[in-house]
Symmetry: C2
Subunit: 457 residues, 2 copies
C-alpha cells in the first residue's frame, strides 16, 4: 500500500489562493503602473545565483540566511577531506555552488556590470520578484516574499532622489494610504558624529541609532556607551535628538550645530534641495519629514536615505531606500552611483487589510456561469460562452448535466454574479434565462441582448 | 585588495533585460487575459516544497533533476553515519528537506488536497510561475523556465476538454499563430494494444510511440520489438499508423478496427464528442486534428491527450496536456479527475520570434524625456513630468545639467520617442520645445497642449 502523505507547505512559505491573489495582483498592478509612468524598465533575474555573486554582500548574518542548493549528481565525489571533520561551514563550498537570491539589489548590480555596454545610463530599472531568506519564520515574516524595487543607476544628481520620492507619493496616493516619508542623509549622520568628536565610531553609531524605534533611547544610549561613546557625547546626542520641530526648524538647528563641518553641511544642503524640488510634485497625503535620527540598516548607503510609514497603521516601514555609491564595484564596475527604493509589498498589504481597503475585490474571474439540462443545451452553452469571451466577458460552462441546484450552489460559492440557464424553451428561442445572484432578478435575453447586458454591467 | 569578480549567471539561467521583458510581458498578458476570460482563478505556490511532496512524482529521472536545498545551520549535525560511506544519494535526505518546484502540477495537486474544503469544484485554476530542473543546459533548454498552466479539476465531463481546446484556440488566435491541435485518447492507445493482443505492453508501447516524431518509425519498431512486440503485431501497427485521412476517415477506420473493443470504443466516442462540441467554438487558424499516434510522455494521463504545434514553425510542441484521474491521490484525495493544458511560453516566444511577430514592441516605458539648462528648468521639468504621469503619460526627467547632446543620445539609445527641452524662453512662457525623435519635427507647446498632444498619440 502506498503511504498517503498529509501535505504541508515548506516551513515559512505560503500558497496564495484566488482570493489572496486578487488582492495581491491589485497592489502589484498599481505599483507596476507607476513604475512604468516614471519610465522604469523592468528586468528579471534568475532565482539561482552563483554563490560567488551572493556571498559577502549581506554581512555574516546574511550569508547564513542564504538558501544554498546542493550540486547536482554525485555531489560528494569532489569533496576534499572528511566531511564531518571539515564541518558544515567548510564543507559547504565543496558541495554547493549556487544559492537563492536574497534580495533584488545584488542581482541588479551583477546585471548592470554584465550589461554595461548595452545599457543607456542613467538606467531606471524596476524589478518585482520573490526573494528567499532562511530566517526563523514568525508572524508576518516569511522565508519567501516579494520585493518591488525601483532604482536609478549611473547618475549622482539629486533629481533622482526627487523622482523616487514622487514615485513613492504617486503609488501610495493610488493605494489610498496616508503616508509619511522620513528622509535623512548619511552625510548628516556622519557630520553629527564628527562634531561629537567620534568620527571613528560612525558604523557602530548608525547601527545603534537604527534601533531607536525598536528599543528606545535608553537602550540605545547603553549600547552607544559600550561601543566607546563618552557620557558627554551621549548627552549631547540626546539633546540633539530630543529636538522637535518642522523641517525648517530642524534645518536651522543643524545649520548652527554643524557650523563649518563640511560633510554635515553637504548633507544638509542635499536635504534642502530635495525638499525644495519635492514640493513641486504636488502629491497630497504623503508628507515629507526630515528626521536626522533616521539611520537605515544597510551598510551600503552613502547619501540620502528614506523610509515610508503609514500614518494610520504606523508599525514598521512600508518602503525604504537610499543612495549607494559603490554597489557594482564588487563586480568590476566602480564609480556607478545609484539610488533606489523598495516597496514592502507584504507589509503594505497587511496595512491595507488593517484599514479595510480591500472591500470590493472581485475574486472570481467569471461574470456568468452557464448551465443546461441536456446535450443540446450543453452545445448552446459552449457556443454562447465563447461568444461572450470574444466580447471580453469572462464566463464559464458548468461541465455536468446535473440537478439545477448544484450549479447555483457552485456559482454562489465561487462568487459568480450571474447564472445563465439554457432549457428546452431557451434552445428553441435561442435565448438564455439569466439570474442575478445578488437580487434574484431573472430576465430572458437573446444572445446579442445578453452580450449587451453583460458589457454594460 | 578586494578580488574583483567577473560576474556570470548561474549555468543554464538567464537574465531578462527590458527588451526581452517587453516581449515576454506581452505574451504573458495575452495568456493571462484568456485564462481570465475562461473563468480560471490564478494561484501561486512557493518555489520551495518539502521533498516529500516532490519526490516520487516525476519518475527516477525526475527525482534526480530536482534542485535540492541544503538544510540551514549546522546541517551535518544530524547526519547518522559517515557521509562518504553513505554516499551522495543516501546522505541527501539527511542534509536536505526541501527542493525547488519541478512543475506546477504537483504543487497544484498538493494545494487542492490541502484546500479541498474551501474550493468550489470543479475548480478552474491557472498558474504562471517559473520551475527549475537540473537538466544539462543546451540551446533552448534552460534550468529555470516559466510554465503557464490551466487545469479544471473535480469533474470528468468532456465539456472541460472542449473548454481547454477553446482556450488553446483563443490564445493562439490572439498571438497570430496558426496552429494544429493534435488530439488523441489514452483509451484509444490502450484499445490498439488490446486489439493487437499486447495489453500488458501498454506502458512500453506509449513510451516508444511518444518518440515517433523524434526518432522515426524504424527506430520505434526496433524498440517495440525489443520490448516484446511480435513482428506480426509491429506490422499490423505499421499498417494502422500509415493511414492518412481526415478526422472522419480515421474515426471510420478505428470503428472498424476496434469492433467490440470496449476501451477503444470509449476513447473513440470521447474523440467524437470533443470534435463535435469543439466545432461550436468558432475559432479560425487553429485546426483540430485527430491523430491516434499521439502518446504524450507523462505517465499520469488517463483519457484525452493533446499537443499543439505551430503550422509555420512546426518543431516541437507549444502547448500540451490531457486528462488525469488520480493526481491528488498521493496527497490523500482520491477520485479527483482533472484535465489540464500547459502553454510552453519559451517555445511560443521562439516561434513568434522566428515568424517576426514582435516587430512593434515598445521597449521604453517613457514617452518623453525632459531636459533643461539650469535649476529653474530642472524644477519646471520635474513639475511637468509629474503632471504628465498623472495623465497616464509615462515620462522621465534627465537628471543632470549637461550639454544638450547627451540627453538626446540617451533618448535615442533608450528609444524614448520625444524629448522636451526647457530653456530660458520656455521657462518664461511656461512652455516646452518638444522634438519628435523619429522625424525631427519640433513644436513649442504649453503644458496643457503638451498633455493633449501626448494623450492623442
Amino acid at each position: 500500500m502506498k503511504v498517503i502523505q498529509k501535505p504541508t507547505n515548506a516551513r515559512g512559505t505560503r500558497d496564495f489562493g484566488p482570493k489572496e491573489m486578487a488582492i495581491r495582483s491589485n497592489v502589484f498592478a498599481t505599483i507596476k503602473r507607476h513604475f512604468e509612468a516614471f519610465g522604469f524598465q523592468s528586468i528579471e533575474t534568475p532565482a539561482m545565483e552563483n554563490l560567488s555573486v551572493l556571498t559577502g554582500k549581506y554581512g555574516d548574518e546574511g550569508d547564513q540566511l542564504l538558501f544554498k542548493i546542493i550540486n547536482s549528481g554525485d555531489y560528494l565525489s569532489k569533496v576534499n577531506g572528511d566531511p564531518l571533520a571539515l564541518g558544515s561551514k567548510s564543507l559547504l563550498p565543496q558541495i554547493s555552488e549556487k544559492g537563492l537570491r536574497y534580495d533584488l539589489t545584488v542581482p541588479f548590480a551583477r546585471f548592470v556590470a554584465m550589461n554595461r555596454n548595452d545599457i543607456a545610463f542613467p538606467f531606471r530599472r524596476s524589478q518585482i520578484q520573490p526573494v528567499w531568506r532562511a530566517d526563523r519564520p514568525q508572524k508576518g515574516r516569511y522565508r519567501e516574499f516579494y520585493q518591488c524595487d525601483a532604482d536609478i543607476i549611473g547618475s549622482d544628481s539629486l533629481v533622482n532622489e526627487v523622482e523616487l520620492i514622487a514615485l513613492f507619493q504617486a503609488i501610495f496616493n493610488s493605494l489610498n494610504l496616508r503616508t509619511n516619508l522620513i528622509i535623512n542623509s548619511r552625510k548628516i549622520l556622519a557630520g553629527i558624529v564628527d562634531k561629537l568628536g567620534a568620527t571613528d565610531l560612525f558604523v557602530a553609531f548608525a547601527v545603534s541609532i537604527d534601533k531607536l524605534d525598536k528599543i528606545g533611547w535608553d537602550a540605545v544610549a547603553v549600547e552607544l556607551g559600550s561601543n566607546g561613546f563618552q557620557p558627554n557625547q551621549i548627552e549631547a546626542l540626546q539633546k540633539l535628538f530630543n529636538f522637535e520641530g518642522s523641517n525648517a526648524n530642524k534645518i536651522e538647528l543643524l545649520t548652527e550645530f554643524f557650523a563649518d563641518n563640511a560633510l554635515g553641511n553637504e548633507g544638509l544642503s542635499e536635504i534642502k534641495s530635495v525638499l525644495r524640488l519635492s514640493d513641486l510634485n504636488g502629491y497630497d497625503n504623503a508628507n515629507l519629514i526630515f528626521d536626522f535620527k533616521l539611520a537605515r540598516g544597510l551598510s551600503y548607503y552613502t547619501g540620502l536615505i528614506y523610509e515610508g510609514k503609514s500614518v494610520d497603521v504606523p508599525f514598521g516601514s512600508i518602503a525604504g531606500g537610499g543612495r549607494y555609491d559603490n554597489l557594482t564595484a564588487a563586480f568590476g564596475l566602480p564609480n556607478m552611483s545609484g539610488v533606489g527604493i523598495s516597496f514592502g509589498i507584504e507589509r503594505i498589504i497587511d496595512v491595507m487589510r488593517e484599514l479595510n481597503l480591500f472591500p470590493e475585490i472581485q475574486i472570481s474571474a467569471s461574470q456568468i456561469l452557464f448551465t443546461y439540462f441536456d446535450e443540446a443545451g450543453q452545445a448552446l452553452a459552449i457556443n454562447i460562452s465563447n461568444q461572450l469571451r470574444k466580447a471580453n466577458i469572462p464566463s464559464e460552462v458548468y461541465p455536468d448535466i446535473v440537478k439545477i441546484k448544484k450549479p447555483f450552489e457552485f456559482a454562489d460559492k465561487k462568487g459568480i454574479p450571474f447564472v445563465g440557464v439554457i432549457g428546452e424553451q431557451e434552445i428553441k428561442d435561442q435565448t438564455v434565462s439569466v439570474k442575478d445572484m445578488k437580487n434574484g432578478e431573472q430576465r430572458v435575453l437573446s444572445i446579442s441582448e445578453l452580450i449587451e447586458y453583460m458589457v454594460a454591467i
